[in-house]
């Protein structure tokens, strides 16, 4: 099959690669870019294990073609931490025991990251709704909700600080 060149920015780095047009974004990330954080749980857009951030939106990368991302900004779980410092959502999932087997976690974190950008001051109900595209079989969500709440608090405090500074 003939290949097509795609250019995108992944976790702040520009990449250019030749891909088959049928290559799914999740396979491109996992196999070409060796970014194996995002996972495959269903390949039908239901579970959210493959969630990544494309141009400021949460995307299920199992049903998105790599060629659709030509020219896009892509963020995966590997890009959340900043120079070795965990992002508030990562820290909160750890502190609140928001993960068990860890398989849903990369998708959850990237979704939580975007959700909190869009909804910085969420109610519990909003969190449950906002995270509903991501399934977890282990935690029962209770601690995930707590983690998102605590990350929201921390992010708000950080924004205040940076405004004050």
């Amino acid at each position: 099959m003939s290949k097509q060149i795609v250019t995108m920015t992944i976790n702040g780095k520009k990449v250019e690669k030749a891909v088959e047009p049928r290559t799914l974004l999740i396979h491109f990330l996992r196999e070409e870019m060796v970014l194996t954080g995002a996972h495959i749980g269903c390949e039908t857009s239901h579970c959210g294990a493959c969630t990544v951030d494309v141009d400021g939106k949460s995307i299920k990368s199992c049903t998105h073609l790599a060629v659709q991302c030509d020219g896009s900004e892509v963020l995966t779980v590997e890009g959340l931490a900043d120079k070795g410092v965990l992002h508030a959502v990562q820290e909160a999932f750890y502190q609140e025991h928001g993960l068990q087997c860890g398989f849903c976690t990369p998708g959850m974190l990237v979704r939580a990251y975007r959700f909190l950008q869009d909804t910085p001051d969420p109610t519990e109900e909003q969190i449950r709704m906002g995270m509903a595209g991501n399934l977890c079989r282990c935690t029962g969500y209770q601690n995930i909700v707590k983690a998102v709440q605590s990350a929201a608090k921390k992010l708000k405090a950080q924004t205040k600080e940076s405004v004050a500074a």
Binding site: I40, L99, Q100, C101, Y141, Q142
Partner: protein, 800 residues
């Protein structure tokens, strides 16, 4: 040097602490190492051609078009595996299972051929290009029909065999009859009974559906003759033994590695055709071969659970004291009997079915039956059919309460095994280790104001304008976990012990290797806590490793809540061997007798003198540097723990639901779960396990079911149809506990992760049925989705 005791204690982060999880750092940064993350040089991809029909003869398989696709390396069928004698394989239950369909297809989505290609896209193309011609046969989906005289013979390979792995087969589609208890005594109790009740119930076919599907990477090195396989397995050592037996490769040259596992819940105990095929393909091609199931394959072919058609009967006095129990089950095992139970127990631990109650006479019988459905019968987050058993007895107690018009809590209180009766031998011969059911029940009833709830319910019932029906569910379950004593429990002859090897390093850090394997339970965190408390070394410097059969001692793996009851005990006892040696070294260093020493948190000290002591860290150094004359250097130990008995965790769960009279939608208003798992190692992790188990229970009770049409087509095998609750539907959980340690376990711990699944399912049914109880309804089959509840609303005349 003498920090306060409580600071020293805290520094260990030992048992009882809600220590944060050691495994999280890699998972939150996308650095887990799951099977599909593994890449090997020259690795090929395998995909499977599956049967589109449930029952058929294979006329012809044409591989040519597939082989013509560039990048396709091989297409293999049963005929290709025949010369290697690998076209069939033994199952853990004593049956055989086709690795690739041999002349006949027995269920839809059965493995018919495999293709191996350069990448997964080409492999998928090749699957489409393999042409298989079938001659369809009538499919048998209903196990009762399968037992009719003129039912089609499903397993022609067993034709004429009247003996199965578990005794007589009385019909060509019959697998086994297994029974337990005293039939005559039970029958006599029923003849003499003042009251009897009977209830039929169907526990539907479901699937554990962990978020990660099954898969493996098999790599055979033809020069060294060594086989390495990364596999999503809850029991890697058993896999090694079976692979060695099947392939003829010595066990020492087979290395099975369970990497990070994305949830198991019983789905990853069995050995599936896909694993065997990938291994064969790697041997044939001399290159690593990866196979990863997709979700549809997972739900259709690997490891269903339940599918029990049960009839329960209770005999009782007019006052509600239970005098007898009888249970009869038709168990649909699908096309091959590949249940993952201890080998001698074809119905697992189903005979825990007398539950938390003191029932003098009991008998149960289970008949296994073949149908044209996928094989499995795994323990979906439970200890081998305990879920089915608990469901049955809890439902029956409710049914009896309703018949006698006694409150659900009251009838339980009346029949509980009393605290002073432990250890208690049940009518089925289990010796319950410890329990205090009355205290737990009272705690829950007080916490939720049970009386108040009943009052509110009466008011709701009396109000014709109420838009909802209110139901209160109550369950008091006892589990049997920690399989198990090797005198009765084995898998293919290997006793169900478990093991631990601990090495303390010269500088006072340690590594522990285990025969179990975590799938999210947090072993790397909790096991280290046990060692920290036992040895007085900070858990931070204790490394826990599992899953690699080349480094870990042999163990039977993680399922059936056996990690803490069995492996946890092995850890404690291995630690105690080290502790004993350390004491000798301490005595030598302090130049006193061992009898003059006492243990305090992290050190041996001279009795009554805080200034003379040696910490475990000092001792570790000495063990390598200046051990006493005649003592072997080093500080390590191995322990294989063969439990003397099972453990019996229990709990009281209460649930309040409001059912919309118009739509049948059921809202869980409150769910209160009290668990008693004996000694608690990490409360944070216990709570997490309980949240997860309750959520899985909610899924089973309220929505999960694998259904089939009359032709045997599986319906709803994607996440579009198969119910996995999101954060929106999932109720909020309230947890509580009591602590009744196990007297025979070295730590007093009983295991917890499965209780919430086992206990919550009947609680939801109890609550939903309770909403209809005043209308004479005694039972409703799961799943209690809105449509089915709405049907009941109609049938009961609540809505028209």
């Amino acid at each position: 040097m003498n920090a306060p005791l409580k600071d020293r204690q805290a520094a260990l982060q030992g048992m009882g602490e809600s220590r944060l999880r050691k495994e999280d750092a890699r998972f939150i940064q996308g650095k887990g190492n799951y099977v599909d993350d593994i890449k090997m040089p020259g690795m090929l991809f395998m995909d499977i051609v599956r049967a589109p029909v449930a029952h058929a003869r294979i006329k012809k398989i044409n591989k040519e078009a597939a082989l013509a696709i560039p990048g396709v390396h091989a297409v293999l069928t049963a005929d290709d595996l025949k010369p290697l004698k690998l076209h069939w394989m033994p199952t853990l239950a004593g049956d055989v299972q086709a690795v690739l369909a041999d002349e006949k297809v027995h269920f839809q989505m059965q493995e018919v051929a495999i293709v191996i290609a350069d990448d997964r896209y080409i492999a998928a193309d090749a699957v489409e290009a393999v042409v298989v011609e079938y001659d369809e046969l009538p499919a048998v989906i209903d196990p009762f029909k399968a037992l009719e005289q003129d039912a089609p013979i499903l397993r022609e390979d067993l034709a004429g065999k009247t003996e199965g792995a578990h005794g007589k087969r009385y019909h060509h589609n019959h697998i086994f009859t297994w029974d337990s208890g005293d039939k005559e005594k039970a029958d006599a109790a029923f003849s003499a009974a003042q009251v009897t009740v009977e209830q039929k119930m169907f526990y539907q076919r479901v699937h554990p559906c962990p978020l990660e599907t099954c898969g493996c990477v098999a790599s055979f090195d033809p020069i060294r003759g060594e086989l390495t396989t990364y596999i999503t397995s809850q029991a890697p050592h058993v896999v090694r033994t079976v692979v060695s037996m099947l392939s003829g490769i010595p066990e020492s040259k087979v290395r099975i590695i369970s990497p990070d596992i994305g949830g198991g819940f019983g789905n990853k105990v069995g050995i599936y055709p896909g694993y065997v095929c990938a291994i064969v393909a790697s041997i044939v091609l001399g290159r690593p071969v990866k196979w990863i199931e997709d979700r549809i394959e997972n739900l259709s072919s690997t490891a269903f659970a339940r599918d029990y058609h049960m009839t329960g009967e209770l005999a009782a006095t007019n006052e509600g004291k239970i005098t007898g129990l009888r249970v009869n089950v038709i168990a649909d095992h699908g096309a091959f009997d590949s249940c993952a139970d201890p080998t001698k127990f074809p119905a697992g631990m189903f005979h825990i079915v007398s539950g938390s109650y003191d029932i003098p006479a009991a008998y149960c019988r289970v008949d296994g039956v073949y149908t044209n459905k996928a094989p499995g019968g795994v323990a979906y987050r439970c200890s081998f059919r305990v879920t089915e058993a608990v469901y049955l007895i809890e439902r029956m107690v409710d049914v009896l309460a309703q018949k006698l018009n006694i409150d659900k809590a009251e009838i339980r209180r009346k029949n509980f095994i009393r605290k002073e009766q432990f250890p208690y031998t049940s009518a089925f011969g289990f010796e319950y280790d410890s329990g205090d059911y009355h205290t737990a029940l009272d705690k829950v009833l007080n916490a939720v104001d049970y009386k108040g709830l009943r009052k509110e319910q009466a008011a709701t019932r009396a109000n014709p304008n109420s838009p909802t029906l209110m139901g209160i569910g109550l369950v008091s379950f006892t589990e049997v976990v920690g399989a198990g004593p090797s005198k009765i429990c084995d898998i293919l002859g290997v006793g169900m012990f478990d093991s631990c090897e601990i090495r303390v390093h010269p500088t006072g850090s340690a590594i522990a290797r285990m025969g179990t394997i975590t799938q999210g339970q947090g072993h790397q965190t909790t096991y280290a806590q046990i060692i920290a408390t036992e040895l007085g070394l900070p858990s931070e410097v204790i490394q826990v490793e599992e899953g690699d059969t080349s480094t870990a001692p042999y163990g039977l793996g993680t399922y059936g809540s056996r990690s803490t009851p069995v492996a946890g005990a092995a850890i404690a006892l291995a630690s105690r061997k080290i502790h004993a040696k350390a004491k000798k070294i301490a005595a030598h260093l302090l130049e006193v007798s061992e009898n003059d020493l006492e243990w305090e948190i992290d050190r041996f000290k001279l009795k009554g003198d805080d200034s003379k002591f040696k910490t475990m860290k000092d001792i570790a150094w000495a063990a390598y540097h200046q051990p006493p004359a005649g003592m072997e250097p080093g500080l390590e130990a191995v322990h294989y723990y063969d439990p003397p008995n099972f453990t019996y965790p229990f709990g009281i769960y209460l649930c309040v639901v409001d059912i919309d009279k118009a739509t049948g939608e059921t809202k869980v208003r409150r769910f209160y779960a009290l668990d008693d798992c004996g000694t608690r190692i990490n409360p944070m992790i216990i709570d997490g396990q309980i949240h997860g188990g309750l959520t899985e229970g909610y899924a089973v009770a309220m929505g999960q079911q694998l259904t089939f049409d009359a032709q045997g087509n599986i319906q709803g095998n994607t996440l579009m149809d198969y119910f996995l609750p999101t954060a929106v539907e999932t109720p909020k959980w309230e947890t509580d506990f009591t602590v009744t340690p196990s007297p025979h376990h070295p730590l007093g711990a009983k295991g917890v992760a499965e209780s919430p699944h086992v206990g919550s399912i009947p609680t939801f049914t109890s609550a939903v049925v309770d909403a209809f109880a005043h209308l004479g309804v005694t039972h409703m089959n799961m799943p209690h989705n809105a449509y089915r509840v709405w049907q009941q609303l109609q049938a009961s005349g609540v809505t028209s």
